[in-house]
Subunit: 305 residues, 2 copies
Amino acid sequence: MNQILAVGSVAFDSIKNPFGEVSRVVGGSATYFSIAASFFTRVRLVAVVGEDFADRGARLFEGRPIDLAGLQTVPGETFRWKGEYGFDLNTRETIYTKLNVFEHFQPVIPEAYRTSPFVFLGNIHPRLQLEVLDQVTAPRLVAADTMNYWIEGTPGDLREVLKRVDILIINDAEARELSHEANLVKAARAIRAMGPRTVVIKRGEHGVLMTRPGEGEFFAAPAMPLEEVFDPTGAGDTFAGGFIGSLAACGEITDAAMARAIIHGSALASFAVEDFSLDRLLRLTQDEISVRFHHFKRLTHFEEA
Amino acid sequence: MNQILAVGSVAFDSIKNPFGEVSRVVGGSATYFSIAASFFTRVRLVAVVGEDFADRGARLFEGRPIDLAGLQTVPGETFRWKGEYGFDLNTRETIYTKLNVFEHFQPVIPEAYRTSPFVFLGNIHPRLQLEVLDQVTAPRLVAADTMNYWIEGTPGDLREVLKRVDILIINDAEARELSHEANLVKAARAIRAMGPRTVVIKRGEHGVLMTRPGEGEFFAAPAMPLEEVFDPTGAGDTFAGGFIGSLAACGEITDAAMARAIIHGSALASFAVEDFSLDRLLRLTQDEISVRFHHFKRLTHFEEA
């Protein structure tokens, strides 16, 4: 089995939106990623939590193929984030970010994880992403996420990361900012010239656009039309988890496998937003994923006359 | 052959955008619609122009399967519109609208056109759309376009039109305004409850979402990723022309035919924006349409492992 080494944040989130409010629920990029990916393959999670995590957090990963040997527990409190969404869920304001133990996070990759064939670098400081890459041995595929904060704040470090990743997963505004190109086709090509062979652009309710060299340069997936969207928190990381999880499970990195993986990521993300926090993912079944995969097919497929 | 009766505006446009400026070129909703649809089937155009049109306008339709017996020429000047686009082409300001002869347009459907099996009602006053419907005999399919101006200004007339059309083609902001629903799935269902069995929602650079009752309730098509977009003027009417043209040529109104027609519409629209005004459509070939149809397939298709 192709394990995935996943490095990122594990956090306590508080979320307020027009449908309700939850306080101090488990969140974080690596959490959403790992749970989504664990529907497809085994995940080796590397992150840091405080001593307040043990009582409620660890249960979440139980019974799933997620290895926790790299989840460090250190004195202090777990990373906390609070966000509030606007009436249509398209705007989000951060009320506070308390890095707590995450402020001094140094990713230490356990010996047994260093040969992981698939590596996912969650949205953390590019310096830390480079430290992870320095500790792993010839991975088959490295995927990374980043955000405007690093694009603006640490562009040099980010450039170093880009030279060493195969897939960059990024949203449309970030793609435009990173490339200084308003047109997404030009933006994607400019980013590919910085290193990553494949660029996956997340467009929120408008779906995903993947670009890579060759005949099938573009692959586009719509978002599943949903009547109720409760909470978009973690949707991007859930997408990444389903995407990389599917690729790792398949083991081939072909155009066809990449396209299928984009749909798996989109399917997982479409579930994640149906309830608060991780709630929908935690009760998700393999059968439901399979049914939604077929709904995506019905949503997009057409034939010549 | 399933002819389409198309009623709408024929105009002289002046367009300014970051790539250049053109003055007094032929435009109008019925013009874009007819030229796009004429790649698939015969179109019977009903519109009004002024005496200034003859010299330059009529040539445009020559050599295409577009019947002009319903194109009235009356004393006065042709409808004129001038618009200016913002730097990323996503915003557009109307500099002026001079209705001229269009102000007193009364659609008169020639006797021979009244049994047309397919009818397209371009974006004109809902009262005029109703007058067209009163003159036709048992069409197999009626499609209509509308806009915020009529949604706000003549809601009662528009409701009457909606009861009598099979397909409403509308953009996402208009769908939300017409239904008072922010969520597009709810918006589409609310509009379907007003009459049209099928609602096609145009989302600009994000593609198209079609909804209709039954198993395949949703069909989504992305826009073709384009490196250069020169002029979005008429893209929506071009989409409608390709869509209804394809449906009429096929003759079947099944889920599969509708999906294929959405792709044909999207393909035509993707060409229309590649040059100013009608220029790209006027030099378009059937082979190019066929190649782009296959590009759409490569862009969206995936298979199970």
